[in-house]
């Protein structure tokens, strides 16, 4: 068995373990929904009257509390509730606010399996690099292999660093990694071949690695923004006190917290992307004789950068903070994926390094 074959075997093993992790995370989400529903059922019995009262009287203040664009909406809500004096019963609490969600064995299995998958994935990436005698990111297959590794790495890193429990993102992260690895092994695989002269440069190591890293952060920012949108929709439904169908969202942080987390992750991605763009220009100068030539890949790198600059601005623009800026983060990540797939495969340009 050659090193490359070992690497492939490791990739498939990692995919199997990611699949287990994905299932565990999915079970966890299902249990969250159940827990949320149960909390409401329990709360509703004694508090039915109070809830009815809330419904009839606090229509206006309720909508206020639900606006996601108020960064302090958690505080806002509690202050509101306290000021009302009517909402102190647990009825509103259980529907609108975070439902406490205890220890979850499936979540722990999910994280443990993600770590195992990550180790296998890392081993796969390293053996591929050793087999090729260079960094393992010189064609589409290798970008995908390393890029997904970085997505998982960023996720695990954020779990360690963040004060919030973000393990609920595991479904998205393992799902995305699984899909991308699947596509990569089936459609992008190429055997180890030597580097063409254009890629023999220290910038291959730096530029591509940093680009791939920023994708890891953008991916997480995307996931958080999606949950933020779902959460803020739920919050406005809760605030208007219509019938609430409880979902796993009740157990997650409120939309303002999610938005702040998304922002923090995304600006790291943005800085890395800014560096990617500049490093790419320096490399292009050495390889093609000009630092910027509006080559298709350069165009899309620029578009992504501008969209995320828009996202950062939106966060600072009245009327745009909240859901609208979240949409920009989502559009931003869509352009990232588009750049990696469609542009690499179907657009003509100088960056013809997919190896396919």
């Amino acid at each position: 068995m050659t090193l490359d074959q070992i690497s492939i075997t490791l990739v498939y093993s990692a995919m199997a373990v990611y699949a287990i992790a994905f299932i565990a995370y999915a079970i966890d989400l299902a249990r969250r929904s159940a827990a949320a529903t149960k909390a409401v059922d329990q709360a509703r019995m004694p508090a039915a009257v109070a809830v009815a009262a809330t419904r009839s009287t606090s229509g206006d203040s309720g909508t206020d509390a639900g606006i996601a664009s108020v960064p302090e909406s958690t505080d806002g809500m509690t202050v509101d509730a306290a000021a009302d004096g009517r909402d102190e019963t647990s009825g509103r609490q259980a529907m609108g606010d975070t439902v406490a969600y205890g220890r979850s064995p499936s979540l722990r299995v999910g994280v443990a399996m993600t770590v195992v998958a990550w180790l296998l994935h890392l081993a796969a990436d390293l053996t591929r690099g050793i087999a090729a005698e260079r960094v393992p990111w010189a064609n589409m297959y290798e970008f995908a292999l390393t890029g997904t590794l970085i997505i998982t790495t960023v996720y695990l890193l954020v779990l360690v660093v963040s004060k919030h429990d973000l393990r609920f993102l595991g479904t998205f992260v393992t799902g995305l990694v699984l899909v991308l690895l699947g596509v990569a092994t089936v459609n992008f695989y190429v055997s180890v071949v030597p580097l063409p002269p254009a890629l023999q440069s220290a910038w291959l190591v730096i530029h591509v690695f940093v680009a791939t890293s920023s994708v890891g952060f953008f991916a997480l920012g995307f996931a958080l923004s999606v949950v933020q949108l779902l959460q803020s929709r739920r919050e406005s439904i809760v605030a208007s006190a219509k019938a609430v169908k409880q979902s796993f969202l009740a157990t997650l942080p409120d939309s303002a917290t999610l938005e702040n987390l998304a922002y923090r992750v995304t600006i790291i991605g943005f800085i890395l992307w800014t560096f990617t763009l500049m490093a790419g220009a320096i490399w292009a100068e050495a390889a093609w004789g000009r630092y910027w030539g509006w080559d298709t890949k350069e165009v899309w790198t620029f578009i992504i950068w501008v969209v995320y600059a828009g996202y950062i601005h939106a966060r600072a623009t009245r009327g745009w903070r909240g859901s609208r800026s979240a949409w920009l983060a989502i559009i931003g990540f869509s352009t990232v994926l588009f750049n990696f797939t469609v542009v690499n495969l179907f657009f003509k340009g100088l960056h013809a390094y997919s190896g396919l």
Partner: protein, 589 residues
């Protein structure tokens, strides 16, 4: 909610998230008013328009518009980066292409509409940055604001007991000692905050000592540096680029060229370029090494390395050796020399029926595929009975397809074959109109070999000579390794050095490059600082409770994104209230 009595916010666009709400309300009122009552004079209108243009919302919309406007340039080939693609597009879509062209879709990035978007954006940017810069300089000299009356509503609010000096021998503490201790504590807080990089100001409000501190001015500095450097990049590219040039030149091994306008195959000067600035140095291509993969079965023939060995001679100086590789341009005499392509230049000699040489040259053949199947043209204008043109294929390693057609199966010289179709007649070069050396216009010529003529194409290997049809003369495909003496040990079928190679060099000078790099570094530095340096205020107050006791209150205020604020306040309170720190040092003093 945090108080928004933020002086900084005043210089921000009115719809910035931290700008005072009142201001925005007034603005929208004014906006409605503007529609309702046409009393707004011309100046009023201008001010209104300017205010709209420099708003956050406009900046955001223009940014998004810029992103959208950049898209078509990746869908349609661009003249700047892919001129052949544009010609092809016109050929493939003869109806659509002129329509697209009228919208400048083949020149998106220099088009009127794309320029309009980014110029508006930059006007907005400048209009936004100038007042903020002015204000920031003032803020840098301003005192931190007065301590708020009630700290308890602010972020990270916490309190610590004020440690009183130990009473001596059980005697009760003197009356003023609490005040003294409070003063000492606030002094110590001021010192510690200053050491932590805060600017501090002591305040005394209703007998309560306090210190107000602010840090992170660098955040705004970074933001301003970032935006200003964006303008810098635009200006450097717009102006600096005009002083440069780029030129292309094909050089065959053993030949040289002199850096003058006439020597270039193609030349693109910038708007302000003066060709008197060209330094006429001589660049000789001594040899071009091409290495191809021979072992890895998956990648046989894939290029591994191209190295051009050159010698560069200043106008009045000695020749110096140099190397040009892909990714490693040679920077000489204020120009950058890039190796952007290479191929074969078969050396061809044509003789008249008497054996007199009428043509001999190494003719660059342009590669058509990865295995360097190449096409070239030989033009013999004088010396034969008629003008003669030849269109040829060169195969470094010839092999035959099932159809009988030839192809090259490997890019290096294993079995080199040259095939030529011969034409006689008028080459069309006498009229003086410039024609490409890489194409032959056969419209006023008669084809003598190949195609439908029924006569076999001429087929040569290095060293071969054959007669031209119609008794025009003879043609030789020279073996250049024989000329240089070759390797005496080489086998007879070793063709590896038999055909000369050419390098195609791009030679550029772009004076904007260094400036753009400087601004790019400023952009990155400004970004890092503005996104990661927390701008925050912190207050420590010795507050007197109704019962007469004094406690130390701590609180902070975030100015912009500051996830670490509450921890920072808590950490400072812990550090500061450790009594040993200030009371003992006070006593020692």
């Amino acid at each position: 909610m945090s108080p928004r009595s933020d002086p900084d916010a005043l210089s921000r666009p009115h719809d910035h998230i931290d700008a005072p709400e009142r201001d925005a309300a007034a603005a929208s009122l004014r906006q409605d008013g503007a529609v309702a009552q046409p009393k707004l004079g011309p100046v009023g209108w201008l001010r209104f328009a300017w205010r709209q243009l420099t708003s956050m919302r406009t900046a955001l919309l223009l940014l998004l518009l810029l992103a959208v406007a950049a898209v078509p340039g990746s869908l349609v080939p661009q003249r700047s980066s892919d001129p052949n693609g544009v010609s092809q597009y016109f050929a493939d879509n003869p109806d659509l292409a002129p329509v697209l062209d009228s919208f400048q879709l083949f020149d998106v990035y220099t088009s009127a509409w794309f320029s309009a978007v980014y110029l508006l954006l930059f006007v907005s940017l400048i209009g936004c940055v100038i007042p903020r810069t002015k204000h920031h300089f003032e803020a840098l000299r301003a005192r931190p604001p007065r301590t708020p009356a009630r700290l308890s509503r602010l972020a990270g609010y916490t309190e610590r007991p004020l440690a009183l000096p130990e009473p001596v021998d059980g005697a009760s503490a003197p009356a003023g000692s609490a005040n003294e201790a409070a003063d000492a504590a606030i002094d110590a807080a001021a010192t510690q905050l200053r050491q932590a990089g805060y600017r501090v100001e002591r305040y005394e409000l209703r007998g309560e000592a306090s210190v107000s501190a602010e840090r992170g001015y660098l955040r705004e500095t970074g933001n301003l540096v970032f935006h200003t450097a964006l303008v810098g990049v635009l200006v450097a590219v717009g102006i600096g680029g005009g002083f440069g040039f780029s030129g292309q030149r094909v050089v065959v091994e053993g030949q040289s060229f002199v850096n003058t306008l006439a020597a270039y195959d193609s030349f693109n000067p910038g708007r302000f370029f003066d060709d008197a600035n060209l330094d006429p140095y001589r660049l000789e291509l001594e040899g071009l090494d091409a290495v191809y993969e021979t072992e890895n079965q998956e990648a046989i023939g894939q290029p591994i390395d191209f190295t051009a060995h050159v010698s560069v001679q200043a106008q009045d100086g000695a020749a110096e050796p140099g190397v040009v590789k892909v990714n490693e341009p040679l920077r000489v005499h204020g120009t950058d020399v890039y190796l952007l392509g290479n191929g074969y230049a078969p050396t061809i000699t044509v003789r008249d029926p008497d054996g007199e040489v009428v043509f001999t040259d190494s003719v660059p053949f342009l590669p058509q595929d990865a295995n360097l199947t190449s096409i070239g043209v030989v033009k013999v204008p004088d010396g034969l009975a008629d003008q003669v043109g030849m269109v040829g294929f060169f195969y470094p390693t010839q092999s035959e397809l099932g159809s009988g057609a030839y192809t090259s199966s490997y890019p290096d010289l294993i079995y080199p074959v040259l095939t030529l179709n011969v034409y006689r007649g008028d080459l069309g070069i006498d009229a003086g109109t410039p024609t490409s050396v890489y194409t032959l216009d056969p419209s006023s010529m008669e084809q003598l070999t190949g195609g439908s003529t029924g006569v076999e194409s001429i087929e040569l290997m290095p060293g071969d000579t054959v007669d031209l049809p119609d008794g025009l003369g003879s043609i030789t495909f020279e073996d250049v390794s024989a000329e240089t003496g070759g390797d005496p040990d080489a086998a007879a079928d070793d063709f590896s050095q038999s055909v000369a190679r050419f390098a195609s060099f791009d030679i550029h000078d772009d004076p904007s490059q260094g400036w753009v790099l400087v601004f790019a570094v400023l952009i990155l530095a400004g970004l890092l600082v503005s996104l990661f340096v927390p701008r925050r205020r912190m207050w420590v107050k010795a507050a007197r409770r109704p019962d007469g006791t004094v406690v130390l209150e701590y609180a902070g205020l975030a100015r912009g994104e500051d996830p670490g604020l509450e921890d920072a306040v808590a950490a400072f309170a812990d550090k500061h209230s450790r009594p040993a720190r200030w009371s003992s040092s006070r006593e020692a003093a």
